[in-house]
Symmetry: C2
């Protein structure tokens, strides 16, 4: 059995494909990246798949009876004490290990908040992803943790996002922008207009409103938004990259290599997971449709985050972000 | 002087560059597309620029003393009766002509609502843009008309968007999706969860929630969202296209032609303007940073919309959308 110090706890039942992807993910995390994994979920299903991969001794297994379906929004999740999500979170908390799940974002957030608790003074957790652009990465926060935050929560996301940019991406004094419609002060919906009044008083370098086209432009280091808008922006980028590369191929690009290089930069398999910020523990949420490779990367990100290290650069960009 | 039937009224002072772009835009609309334009704004400035282009007799000019700044959100705009926006709207309403402005979206919406009034039963107007994708165009509505709609308004946007897809894009029975986080029913923020309960009762083919990656994927013909999220998605696509093409070029694409073809498909200059739906009149809002070419295209879109025709296809796609 592999050593325990850098171990990661992985929700075996999370994601659209459950153990079909999480079991090979756990094996890949250990074999390719040296990250030992404890899989939490239905032990018989997990063991059956481990046997198929000829490997019962490379991965720890912790049984959990119940499975939270991908359709669950979060509300009652924390009361499902026997679920792989809650058993996994509890194990991770008890042993001081990072936790990874490709389950429903709402359900992961609810379970993680209940188990780890929020860091002192934090009202709600937020998901941070690092998006690659022309000039390095930009942190998008919240990418789906809290769909209906208050202005005060949005202001806290700015502080959490700036800390992530500093600690994980190594940006010394991150510039923070508030995602809105129109860059002039006073433009936006009610939530953003209220938050814009709070941000100048925070100990972050606030640069005012930024717009949709700024997200990948490197205008700021941290783009702050609510979890609804952030999640839509994140997935919109995924779809847009696919469409643009598809249209370029159709328009007659004969040299496919560069297109594939760009596609790889934005692929969930490369990046792996989004960090859930503001908790008294390390939690990484992987995309619900994640492949084994993506979940393995999420385990690496979680290990690195917990160790307080920046995740290893991929394609010249820091690895991070992708979410449900 | 050019004939009056297909005439378009253009706010000469709107946009980041005012008459520097709107005057050549009016000339281009007339010379290249046969659309006669009445420019509304400071007559001395407009005449001075017309003289510079050696053309005082190809464009009508209507004087308006006041200019609504691009920073104005809308609230008091309608009380600025002498502004180019209000004078222009009033002229268009009186003569039954379409109106075009590259001014602040909020200000254009406020002035247009005040002047033209809403169509019977419509609570709030919405901006519709047609976004090109791999399989034809998708209507995004609202792309920035109403930042904080109610669930009832969102449901109306579905009806307005479906009518636009039918009348302008020629889709016989448009499929409508509600933009959210997670495709399962019940996922989303409060607004979307409330709207999802209203949409099944409407006379549109409602296909449930769609996600950020569906916007360009052709999953549905109409994507319904609030004006805040819609505007951010729209501009996010602009930025994403730029970034992906930039990264592809940097990755070593030697054959630039196909990349330029894709860039053109998404350029504001190709598309021109977004339609403001739900009013008793035709109003097209152009991107604030529009070039003369983009504003000229917006005039063509307005003329075609008013005539009840689909705008002429550009690059195999229907021309429409782009906004402030």
């Amino acid at each position: 059995m592999a050593g325990g110090r850098d171990r990661v706890v992985l929700d075996a039942m999370g994601g659209d494909h459950g153990p079909a992807e999480t079991v090979p993910a756990a094996l890949a995390a250990y074999r390719e990246y040296g990250v030992p994994v404890t899989l939490v979920g239905r032990a018989d299903e997990i063991h059956q798949r481990l046997r198929r991969h000829g490997s019962l001794d490379e991965v720890d297994v912790q049984h959990a009876d119940d499975v939270v379906p991908m359709t669950e929004r979060g509300g009652r999740t924390a009361s499902r004490r026997a679920s792989s999500l809650m058993v996994g979170c509890e194990l991770a908390r008890r042993e001081g290990l990072p936790f990874v799940s490709a389950g429903s974002t709402g359900a992961v957030v609810a379970s993680a908040v209940r188990t780890f608790g929020r860091r002192e003074g934090v009202r709600r957790p937020a998901l941070a992803v690092a998006l690659p652009g022309m000039s390095g990465s930009t942190v998008l926060v919240d990418a789906g943790g809290t769909a209906d935050p208050t202005a005060e929560m949005l202001a806290q996301f700015a502080t959490l996002g700036a800390a992530y940019a500093r600690d994980v991406l190594g940006v010394r004094d991150p510039a923070v922008g508030l995602l809105s419609i129109g860059s002039e002060p006073g433009k936006g919906n009610r939530l953003v207009r209220d938050a814009a009044r709070l941000l100048p008083d925070l100990p972050v370098r606030f640069r005012g409103n930024v717009e949709g086209h700024d997200v990948l432009a490197g205008t700021v280091d941290v783009v702050v938004t609510d979890g609804f808008t952030g999640n839509i922006v994140l997935k919109n980028i995924e779809g847009c990259v696919r469409t643009v590369l598809g249209l370029a191929a159709r328009a007659g690009i004969t040299d496919a290599g560069p297109l594939e290089e760009v596609a790889r930069l934005y692929a969930a398999d490369t990046h792996g997971g989004a960090a859930l910020l503001g908790l008294a523990g390390t939690v990484v949420v992987a995309h619900g449709s994640s492949s084994a490779a993506a979940i393995a990367r999420a385990c690496v990100v979680a290990r690195d985050l917990a160790a307080g290290e920046a995740p290893a650069p991929v394609n010249g960009h820091r690895a991070a972000g992708r979410v449900t």
